[in-house]
């Protein structure tokens, strides 16, 4: 009787173990990376890490393919190393630059794609400095389209990812007008009045401006770190 039991267990175990095989599908083996580059200055176009622009990818060869969305780093670079090698339609959505055409390309291995774009707004002569408890930003705007600039703002956060969506506090101003490149804007935050900003600690400040276009996102200057 015991013998039969052992044999039964043996047979079941063999069945179970033999079924533990990898499936025949390959894993994602390709990556796409690159930068978003200003066509005039050649600089990276700064982005938001959350609720900012996204790169939409649609893989060829499927019906009803669900689009994949990729976020950017704040500095304007991006990378997704979990892609399947294939042909893709690629286009940026919710941009802070003028729309570009859909890019059709093959992604295989490590594939680089730089987007050469015209940002809606360039933030010029940006300067953020502290005087006493007051942090002041001065800058001017160079807009590349004919619509209004909606809002300008100075955003304070605890790390370099600071922006309108990710901040401890802000000082902002509605513009709703076409801007003159010679105008110098000034925004300031009195850190004494902000309970989220503690004296002695380092915070990051970033100047942003929002252009009035469908689904537009903020354009930024580089974040500046300041010890309070």
């Amino acid at each position: 009787m015991n013998k039969i039991k052992y044999i039964a267990i043996l047979i079941v175990s063999i069945g179970c173990l033999a079924s533990c095989e990898l499936d025949e599908m390959d894993g994602p083996d390709s990556e796409l990376y690159g930068s978003i580059i200003d066509d005039v200055t050649g600089e990276l176009v700064q982005q938001d890490i959350i609720r900012g622009g996204e790169l939409e990818l649609r893989e060829h060869g499927w019906e009803n393919v669900s689009p994949q969305h990729m976020n950017y780093s704040v500095d304007g670079t991006y990378r997704d190393s979990q892609l399947f090698g294939n042909d893709y339609d690629i286009f940026p959505i919710k941009t802070n630059f003028h729309p570009i055409d859909t890019i059709k390309m093959n992604i295989s291995g490590s594939t680089k794609l730089d987007l050469i774009v015209t940002p809606y707004i360039r933030i010029k002569n940006a300067n953020v400095s502290k005087s006493g408890s007051i942090v002041t930003a001065t800058f001017s705007l160079e807009q590349t389209g004919l619509s209004n600039v909606k809002t300008i703002g100075l955003y304070a956060g605890s790390d370099g990812n600071v922006g309108e969506p990710m901040r401890l506090t802000k000082a902002d101003q509605n513009i709703d007008a076409v801007t003159d490149p010679n105008t110098v804007y000034t925004l300031s935050i009195d850190t004494d009045n902000e309970i989220d900003l503690k004296a002695g600690k380092v915070y990051f400040f970033r100047i942003g401006a929002l252009y009035n276009a469908s689904n537009s996102k903020f354009n930024y200057a580089q974040a500046v770190s300041i010890q309070l």
Partner: protein
């Protein structure tokens, strides 16, 4: 040998033939057939009752994550309810906010729709008189309208399926593409019209003509708002370009007019009115209003459709009393006090002396109500003998729906205190401490034992940390310390909502009768003992709506439909009002109030993609996904 063979064949033949009896063709004894069910009029009613139970009515068993009828077994979700996702309230332990896993209702919706479609198919075959047949058809339209409303407000345009699908072995034949959002809203309204035209004036707790009009009023206002304000957010994607989400601005006034017409018909010809419309005092107004939610059946003239919860227990009762009652009245239940109404909510209620504006609570002589930076000894705070006095001038509906510091509840005063200011001027707030002053011991939370106070003590997550407790819907009888023991009925449609729908539609569109709309809005204010009418403005209507319909799971949809969720919640914090005993100077010591942030509440931001829920299973059902 041959004989044996023949006999063998004969026997085999006999066995085979005699085995053909029907002894195995049994009807299952644990199920009844459609013929049996619908052959009996009571069976038909039973089937209908089940459909009603599955309507997307956001009553006291509805939760944003778990969905409808969440009252089986131990529904241990901390009582995290819909309105905690608005500025109205905060949870004593959690800081959750709208995410992709909230507010979904897809599979149960289509299951309900399939069952009502089956019912519609079977109505013509029922052995009933023609009046009953027409009434059933109309009721089915009401249910289908309600179900599609539950879908369209969550997902935008959805596949409109009007007959029970048959599976013929080809799954492709079951796939139905999405209709546009406009087609879906228009379908919901058309189904309402079928119900309105054929339903009777009374129908117990089932849909009457008036309930269908009330539904239409709500639906049309929702659609109108999306049409008017949809342009305030930029959504992209295939669903937008194909019109599967979004309505065009040009449709706004048509929907507003539909809302005005449906509301007006109910107001002019319906048997409804406000419960206790002219109270003798603010105290009477508060008690009338409170009692109406403890038991909406006393307000039969106001409650248009009630979802009943007759029996306590699994699948029947709700858990508001155990989750939300104040800690002092927990009666042995270990997890009370979860719902914390906010200061932002309390600020909305008008002061009687200043009608027509938010009654923002001023706590200092400098009048600065934007300072949430905690106690500041250099500011001059207003002092009160009794904490509850600061609310004396407030709209009665505040104390009807909210437990105020040191107000009476079930025979005791609810002690809600955040701390004290020591005689040396240092404040101890939201920390457990005690101090002896002139021979008397004072405690930060009012008393030593957590059994004797209901505020700010982090003990068990059982105390409010906003200064306010939850009161609306709670029973005045002792809490029964167990799951699903409260059987509070819920008025899904109240006459007050219809008045405010009318007022909002008129204020937003300029259509309809403006003086009648102003009268409608002021009627709900007068029931709260306001003596001065205020003009009809969008702001006034929205304030009135927020205070009148608070905690009834309507507020979140106001933010959604008016597209103000992302502006209301943009790095936004909720706030609390902290009663603090000031031990400076000499006895008798008085209370001051500090406007402050809610402990544990980090800033919340609404992502515009959440105006529409993601459709599940698009890989299989082939539907176009909503903007992500």
């Amino acid at each position: 040998m041959k004989t044996i063979k023949n006999i063998f064949f004969l026997l085999a033949f006999v066995v085979l033939v005699s085995s053909c009896n029907d002894g195995l063709d049994l009807e299952p004894t644990d199920k009844i057939t459609a013929d049996e069910l619908f052959g009996d009029p009571e069976g038909t009613k039973l089937y209908l009752a089940d459909l009603y139970d599955r309507l997307p009515i956001e009553d006291l068993t509805y939760f944003p994550k778990e969905g409808f009828n969440f009252n089986r077994g131990g529904p241990n979700n901390g009582g995290f309810s819909n309105s905690m996702l608005t500025m109205m309230g905060h949870h004593s332990e959690r800081n959750s906010f709208v995410s992709g896993s909230y507010l979904k209702w897809w599979e149960p919706a289509y299951s309900l729709i399939r069952d009502v479609n089956l019912f519609i198919d079977i109505i013509p075959t029922l052995d009933i008189n023609e009046d009953d047949r027409a009434a059933y058809t109309a009721e089915a339209a009401f249910i289908r309208s309600f179900a599609y409303f539950g879908l369209v407000k969550r997902y935008g345009g959805v596949p409109i399926i009007t007959e029970p699908q048959e599976y013929d072995g080809d799954p492709e034949s079951l796939k139905v593409p999405r209709n546009t959002e406009k087609e879906t809203w228009d379908f919901v309204l058309a189904e309402c019209d079928i119900a309105i035209n054929a339903l009777g004036e009374t129908n117990g707790r089932r849909a009457s003509k008036w309930a269908a009009l009330a539904l239409k009023s709500r639906v049309a206002l929702h659609a109108a708002s999306i049409a008017k304000f949809g342009g305030n957010v930029d959504l992209t994607g295939d669903a937008v370009t194909q019109g599967l989400v979004g309505l065009s601005t040009g449709d706004a006034n048509r929907y507003y007019q539909e809302c005005i017409d449906a509301s007006n018909e109910l107001m002019e010809y319906g048997p409804y009115s406000l419960y206790q419309p002219n109270p003798a005092s603010a105290e009477a107004a508060a008690e009338n209003f409170r009692a109406m939610f403890e038991n909406p059946n006393i307000a039969g003239n106001e409650a248009i459709l009630i979802k009943g919860r007759t029996i306590p227990g699994d699948n029947y009762g709700n858990n508001y009393d155990i989750w939300f009652g104040p800690a002092q009245k927990r009666n042995g239940w270990p997890h009370p006090g979860r719902y914390n109404p906010t200061l932002d909510f309390a600020d909305l209620f008008e002061n009687y002396s200043k009608p027509g504006e938010n009654g923002t609570i001023v706590t200092t002589t400098d009048g600065d109500t934007e300072n949430y930076n905690g106690f500041d000894s250099s500011r001059d705070y207003v002092h009160y003998d009794n904490p509850v006095d600061i609310f004396a001038d407030k709209d009665a509906r505040l104390r009807a729906q909210v437990i105020l510091p040191n107000s009476e509840w079930k025979g005791d005063n609810m002690i809600i205190q955040a701390g004290y200011v020591q005689p040396d001027g240092n404040a101890k707030i939201e920390t457990k401490a005690q101090i002896d002053v002139n021979g008397t011991t004072y405690y930060t939370y009012g008393t030593l034992s957590p059994e004797e106070h209901s505020g700010f003590d982090p003990h068990g997550g059982n105390m409010t940390k906003t200064g306010f407790g939850f009161k609306k819907f709670l029973q005045t009888t002792p809490v029964i310390p167990g799951w699903n023991r409260s059987n509070t009925d819920f008025a899904e449609f109240r006459y007050a909502e219809i008045l405010l729908n009318y007022a909002e539609a008129v204020a937003e569109s300029g259509l309809g009768d403006e003086s009648k709309a102003a009268e409608a809005m002021n009627a709900t204010r007068r029931r709260a003992f306001h003596q001065t009418d205020i003009p009809l403005t969008v702001n006034n209507v929205l304030r009135e709506r927020a205070v009148e319909l608070a905690f009834e799971n309507k507020g979140i949809w106001d933010l959604m439909r008016r597209r103000t969720y992302h502006t209301t919640f943009n790095n936004t914090r909720k706030h609390s009002l902290m009663p603090v005993l000031d031990l400076r100077g000499s006895a008798p010591y008085k209370y001051i109030f500090v406007r402050n942030r809610v402990r544990g509440n980090s800033p919340q931001t609404f992502d515009i993609k959440h105006y529409y829920r993601a459709i599940p299973g698009v890989g299989l059902n082939g539907l176009v996904q909503n903007p992500q």
